[in-house]
Every structure is written in C-alpha cells, then in structure tokens.
Symmetry: C2
Subunit: 204 residues, 2 copies
DNA sequence: AAAAATCTACCGTACGGTAGGTAGGCATTT
DNA sequence: AAATGCCTACCTACCGTACGGTAGATTTTT
C-alpha cells in the first residue's frame, strides 16, 4: 500500500482513538500526516471511507490471524485455547484499532455498516461454533451457549480497554491468564459430578 | 428535579446512545425536547454539562444500587453473588446510560473527567476488594486478582452491549446466568486441591 | 508528456453558544 | 387592591468559527 495512505491511516487511528471519530476533523488528520487536507481526498473518498478502511481491515486481519492460529490444532479444548490466546493477543497488539471497531460503528452509513457487521458476525461465529461443539460433545460444561459465547467474547475483547503496553503484564502474559480463565474455569465443569458438592468451599 | 430538565436529559441520553455525543447537536436535543435550543442553556451550562450529568448521575446511582444490594449480606461468596447480580441487572435496566458511560468519556474536559473516573474507580474497588478478600481467605481460587477483577467487571459490564430488552432472556435471567458463571466457575477452584488433577477432563 | 500526487483557495453549511427580549407568576410596597 | 419589581422559563435572531468537501493550478514521478 501507498506509504502516504498508510501515514494518513495511522494518523486517523491515533486521532479516532484519542478523540473519537466525530470529534476528529479532517484538518487534524492532515496536520498529523504532514499533508494538506485536500490531499487526503486523493487517497480516500471521504472521512467515513477512512473509518471504514480501519474497521474492515482490522476485522479481516483479526479473522485471518485467528484462522492461522487454529490451523492444524485438532482437539476442541486446544482449539479453544488457541482461539482465546489469539483473540486476546490481537486485542493487546492492535489495541487502538479494535477499540475504534468497538465504539465508532455509528460513523458508518447503512451499507458500510452492514458489511462490517457481517464480517464481525462471521468472526464471532468461529467462537460460538467451537463452544457449541465442545458442549455437545461433553468437553465443556453445559450451559446457555449463546450467553456463554457473549460472556467469553466480550471479556476477551475488553482486554483492549484496560491493557497498558507499559504495564506490569505483557500481552502474552495476559493471553496466558485468559486462556486459563476461559478454558479451565469458565468452560470446564467445576467439580467432578456428584462428589464433594460444595463442602470445601462453604465453611463459614 | 425540574421536569423540563428531565426531558432534555432523556432526549440527550437517547441521542448520545444512538448517534454518539459528538455527532449529536444541541439543536437535535432541542427538537426532541420540544423546546428551542437556547432554552436548554437555562437548564444546562453547556453540552458537556449534559453529558457530565448523565455520566455522573448514572455512576452514583449504580454505586448506591450495589451498596443497597450488598447490605446485610455476610458471607463473601453471597456478597459476590449479590454484587454480580446487581451489576448485571443495572446494566440491563440502564443500558443506554451505561453504554454512554463506557464510550463517551472523551467528551469530558480534564476536571469533569477526573471526578467521573474517581467515582468509577471507587465503584470498581468494591469488586476488587471482594475478590482479593475472597482469594486471601481461600474462598475463591487463587490467581492474579487484578486481572480477574478486570475480567469479571468487563464481562458483566459488556452485557449492556448485547442485551436486547425484547430478546429471549430477561435482565433477571441473564443476571442469574452471570452470577453462576462468575461465582461457581470463574472464582471457584475447578477441582478440590491435589486430588483428581485433570484426569477426568483431559481424555482425548 | 502523461499520470500521479499534492497544493492553495474557497464554498456552503451547521455547529455551540450568546444577546437580548417577552410572558407570566409571585412577592413586596404604596 | 393596584402598582412595582423581580424571577423563572422560555423565545427569536444572530455571531464567529470550523467543518467536510471541491475546483483547479502546480509540482513530482514515471
């Protein structure tokens, strides 16, 4: 891709992230790209076009990334582990873009909105299918598959809201923690059926 | 509170929710309130002032609600259950306001931002303290308390992103599911220590 | 010399907010 | 009880600014 176009896109990502889409002016993007405002229109048809490019590209890259990470992984539990790791890692590495994807959809007009949501739904279906399959086959604890899918996906997505690249934990460390949380806690039966009940944990 | 002020606030909530804060014009709010634009300034000093009112009031009401729900509940597990229930219920009942609270903070100038974040941090500390206490006393499974707090809070907060008042599940039903997910899955030891290991669940 | 990339200069519009006025209710003064 | 002054709540009309986008000339690259 054209390098100027990339510069514009990166400036837009930073501004949309910091100030939001509607609070960002084309002149802001131009200034941060060291270019005149009118020149942006040589690369993008409109302001919305920049937003759409950011959203769609990010969602497609996320899908490709997760598919790559799932390649060759057989066991359903391991597939789920790989998917959670990949999702969380991506949301740490691409924090700004995914936050924009999460909160600036209202900047899209009907057609663009539709195609983005279709792309996102396809992505989320990867998780939902795995969870349903794992439950059906008895590898994951039974439960409301839809709600549990939402719970897992939103929890993993929200990492982008609090992750700090300069913080105590790296993206990889957080991925590890979430992999465990999701697979060995959220999805696995708490106790081997019928034994122990709640005995150990409910004293007092 | 003055009824006109409430009308303005409600119109603003709907518009900020549907179109975002920056994409909403004072004239939009005026139109939806059946009032002239200038009259809004009799009740609110500025557009930001409306946003601040919405954000701050919602966060204070959430805090009061959760404190009420925790009153008299003794056992740490039951306290956690009550807290999760309350949080999720509030996020279903007050969907629009909490979504605004989640995504429109960039509309606040420094001072307003600071006081809102202080209020929000105080609220989140209620959860964090419970989780740390539960872990220290051995009622909850050990783990990175900070990360687990974030995981739980963001997961429960995100219910507002997908909850549909006309959908299959009511706010109460979702609260029930989340209460179980958080307390008996996320926070409870998967297996009684030292026995069983992962034997039962890792066949294949 | 053609094409691509960028520029200056500008357009119409809509924004947040203000100036200043009016209508009516309700005390206080005469 | 009539007149006065003040207050709340709202209005019309407007201001300065900044927005997204365009026209068309100019420069740079191929």
């Amino acid at each position: 891709m054209n390098s100027t176009k990339e510069t514009i896109k990166k400036a837009a990502i930073n501004l949309f992230y910091k100030k939001s889409y509607f609070a960002t002016a084309m002149s802001n993007i131009a200034l941060d790209s060291s270019i005149r405002k009118a020149s942006i229109y040589h690369h993008y048809a409109s302001k919305e076009d920049i937003l759409y490019d950011i959203l769609m590209t990010t969602m497609k890259e996320l899908t490709i990334y997760i598919e790559t990470c799932l390649e060759g992984v057989e066991n359903i539990e391991n597939r789920m582990r790989a998917a959670v790791r990949a999702h969380v890692k991506f949301h740490c590495d691409r924090q700004k873009e995914v936050l924009i994807s999460d909160s600036e959809l209202r900047g899209l007009t009907a057609n663009n909105y539709k195609s983005f949501v279709a792309q996102r739904d396809a992505y989320e279906k990867i998780f939902q299918d795995m969870i349903i399959q794992g439950m059906d086959q008895g590898y994951f604890a039974a439960g409301d598959a839809k709600v549990i899918s939402y719970a897992i996906l939103t929890m993993c997505t929200a990492v982008a809201h609090w992750f700090n690249p300069k913080g105590r934990l790296s993206g990889n460390q957080i991925s590890n923690i979430y992999e465990e949380l999701v697979v060995t806690r959220l999805l696995r039966e708490s106790l081997p059926l019928h034994s122990f009940e709640n005995s150990v944990l409910e004293e007092e």
